[in-house]
């Protein structure tokens, strides 16, 4: 016994290996097909990567030079400094505008998407043709980025934050429609059945059977999106749709690094503040549902 205990595991493996291999050939047989698939996939992925590097004009020399430049920028950025108080106030105001765009755009998108979420849900609209069209349109809207929508809305309502609100609203309308319809499909059907058995119509079933189940879920999704849209809203200013993005864009172009780092820190603070508030609210919303 003591002799066995003193042998290391690798020694046991060396000594017992051949016997085990002979006893259980199935376990030790290499699956050539699976191995070929794995190696083939890796070769394909790496090949595509190398091809990508070649067409994207990435040379190590350029990366090296750029990293040097970047290092300089980081040094220039310290300490973050908006120079004058009035400039700082301008940035804070633009940040508040950004948050306002995110909140308003998200809430409008959710309000608009609510009826479409029901239209795209299998347990509300059994006809697959209607559902197919609603879903595909939602997907189309969703696949266009908020920045592109901002560009289009700027053409319609002119420069300014209102275009940003509409852009966030449009791009999230697609996302909410999809999320809401999935939540509705996952809802428990028994409540609706209960309403039906007491003589309720279709609308009654949706209002009293489905809505109470899905509303807290929707609220928590909306809160989560407000958080992620604060990030989107910081960039739509690049095309003139309001918020802090325009200032960020200008300061980067005019190489005012200390302003840039000040703005980035402002954005980070705002995003984490919203993150904190919305996660607490989300907890409260879901907590209320459970009691």
């Amino acid at each position: 016994m003591t002799a066995t205990n003193q042998r290391t595991l690798s020694a046991i493996a060396r000594e017992e290996g051949p016997r085990l291999r002979a006893a259980y050939p199935d376990v030790f047989r290499t699956d050539m097909k699976a191995r070929a698939v794995t190696i083939g996939t890796i070769v394909l992925l790496v090949g595509l990567f190398v091809y990508g590097l070649s067409i994207l004009e990435t040379t190590w020399w350029r990366v090296f030079l750029g990293l040097g430049e970047l290092g300089k920028f980081v040094v220039y950025m310290i300490p973050p400094n908006p120079e004058t108080l009035s400039k700082a106030l301008v940035y804070v105001h633009a940040l508040a505008e950004t948050v306002a765009i995110a909140i308003l755009g998200t809430v409008l998108a959710a309000t608009l998407a609510l009826p479409f979420g029901f239209l795209a849900a299998r347990n509300v609209i059994p006809s697959w043709i209607a559902r197919f069209f609603v879903r595909r349109s939602l997907d189309t809207i969703r696949s266009v980025d908020a920045l592109i929508w901002a560009l289009i809305w700027v053409n319609v309502v002119g420069l300014g934050p209102f275009a940003g609100v509409l852009a966030i609203m449009t791009s999230d309308f697609g996302a909410f429609g999809k999320l809401f319809s999935e939540a509705i499909e996952a809802a428990d059907g028994k409540a609706s059945e209960g309403i039906k058995s007491t003589g309720g119509g279709n609308l009654h079933q949706v209002r009293f059977g489905l809505l109470p189940q899905v509303l807290p879920l929707f609220a928590s999704q909306v809160l989560y999106y407000i958080e992620s849209n604060t990030r989107s809203a910081t960039i739509i200013g690049i095309v003139g749709a309001g918020g802090i993005g325009l200032h960020l864009y200008e300061q980067i172009r005019t190489l005012e690094y200390q302003h840039v780092s000040f703005i980035i820190i402002l954005v980070l603070i705002a995003v984490s503040a919203i993150d904190w508030v919305s996660s607490r609210l989300r907890f409260a919303v879901i907590g209320v549902r459970q009691t």
Partner: protein, 305 residues
């Protein structure tokens, strides 16, 4: 013989005439009304706060419904103009004219896809390297974990287009800054998701490798990676899908891809070009969505066997 026990003696007054203590009933009713009122008050307060937030936001964001109403026609007419060529013909009547720039656009589209692909791969590799020190169950020191986590947080909180803006100045115009911006953002996003997967693994294989004298690399290779690999691939595919959308707008700041052409077409009012490029993008996103979804289902299916 056992005598039956009656709750109500036979011949006594029926139960319905049982008269409870009216004061107690009133107290209960009062408590119930108070509870309902408190809930209703909270609800009204919540609605008021919500309305206040919305009104303030509307004021901050210069929402002007009159302007929207006056100009909403522009939106519909804009969409309508997207469907016609410069010579006034409906786009579908002359597809050759509509897609006159197809070779150029396809090249840019491939560039866009490659920006997304290379960025995703670099980001996934970095995220993979950083997810182990960021996972609570594998980290060696609290300090290391905190530093890695803050770094990942920074990478994903700053929008990728902001990184692209800065990188365009540092690396020069072209797809390289776009790739790097997407790679950094992907590192942050995937690093976090990966570390969450690692935190949920079964720790028994880890104990086994540690007990047989494995070092950290061996623990990760033989105990952790086999458990998490399919999840990692699935998340990476999902991220690739998101990055294709992200790469499409990199051109807005000069960081390569089809975005630059789209921006110029919108700014110069080349309506049919805008619709041509948008449709190319939408179709590409659809195809990629479907392909990655299939690949993910196949991966999950393989894991289940």
């Amino acid at each position: 013989m056992v005598r039956p026990v009656f709750l109500v003696q036979p011949g006594a007054a029926p139960l319905s005439s049982f008269s409870p203590n009216p004061q107690r009933i009133d107290a209960l009713k009062g408590a119930y009304a108070d509870a309902i009122a408190a809930r209703r008050n909270r609800m009204i307060l919540g609605i008021l706060v919500f309305a206040l937030v919305i009104v303030t936001s509307g004021w901050m964001a210069e929402v002007n419904l009159a302007k929207l109403a006056a100009r909403i026609g522009n939106f519909t007419s804009y969409i309508e103009r997207l469907a016609f060529l410069d010579n006034g013909a409906f786009v579908l009547t002359d597809i050759r004219e509509w897609y006159w720039g197809i070779t150029h656009w396809m090249r840019l589209l491939i560039e866009t896809l490659m920006i997304a692909y290379v960025g995703t791969i670099v980001g996934a590799v970095l995220g993979f390297a950083l997810c182990f020190p960021a996972a609570r169950n594998l980290t060696r020191s609290a300090l290391e974990m905190a530093v890695v986590r803050r770094f990942l947080e920074f990478c994903r909180t700053v929008p990728e287009i902001v990184f692209a803006l800065i990188f365009v100045v540092a690396f020069g115009l072209g797809p390289l800054p776009g790739v790097l911006a997407i790679a950094i953002h992907t590192t942050g996003a995937l690093g976090k998701l990966f570390s969450e997967v690692v935190e949920n693994i079964d720790m028994k294989p880890v104990d086994g490798i540690v007990a047989s004298g494995g070092n950290r690399v061996q623990v990760i290779r033989f105990a952790v990676v086999p458990q998490v690999l399919s999840n990692f691939f699935s998340y990476t595919l999902l991220r690739f899908e998101i990055n294709v959308r992200g790469a499409a707008i990199m051109g807005f700041v000069g960081a390569g891809g089809i975005g630059q052409d789209l921006l110029e077409s919108v700014r110069k009012f080349y309506y049919s070009d805008v619709s041509a490029i948008l449709i190319l993008l939408i179709v590409t996103v659809f195809v990629i969505d479907m392909a990655t979804e299939r690949a993910r289902h196949a991966l999950i299916g393989r894991e289940a066997h």
